[in-house]
Symmetry: C2
Subunit: 80 residues, 2 copies
Amino acid sequence: MRPMKKLQLQKLFAANLLRERKARGLSQDELAHEAGLHRTYVGSVERGERNISIGNIERLARALGIDPAELLRGNHKPVR
Amino acid sequence: MRPMKKLQLQKLFAANLLRERKARGLSQDELAHEAGLHRTYVGSVERGERNISIGNIERLARALGIDPAELLRGNHKPVR
């Protein structure tokens, strides 16, 4: 077993989700409703506090109309 | 809330994981060991039975040396 590195994907996902939600002009409440999730849950995901499941990744990506893989990518250009 | 569509990302991830593991000539046991997970858990993930967390997606991607986003992509070329 390799020595444990700090897990970072959760934080990357959080930043991507926040950026893509705002790019669409959606509130957390609107995104949550569209995805069938609770607003407070979406808020905690966006703060990087949740070890989110692949099922909920799919729900959020579908609600945003984005490929789920895009929410895990690390080389997004900053929003200007 | 949108009407619920069948969730498919879990199955896509399973197929991608299986393909990438085999492409590296790794057994489930070897991959599990490298990722710090249990062999039977990796087996059930590869059968599409698990609503895997983003933390375990990251562990498996790291063990395979692949970008986690690649394990969620749907347009891979078939292995020949």
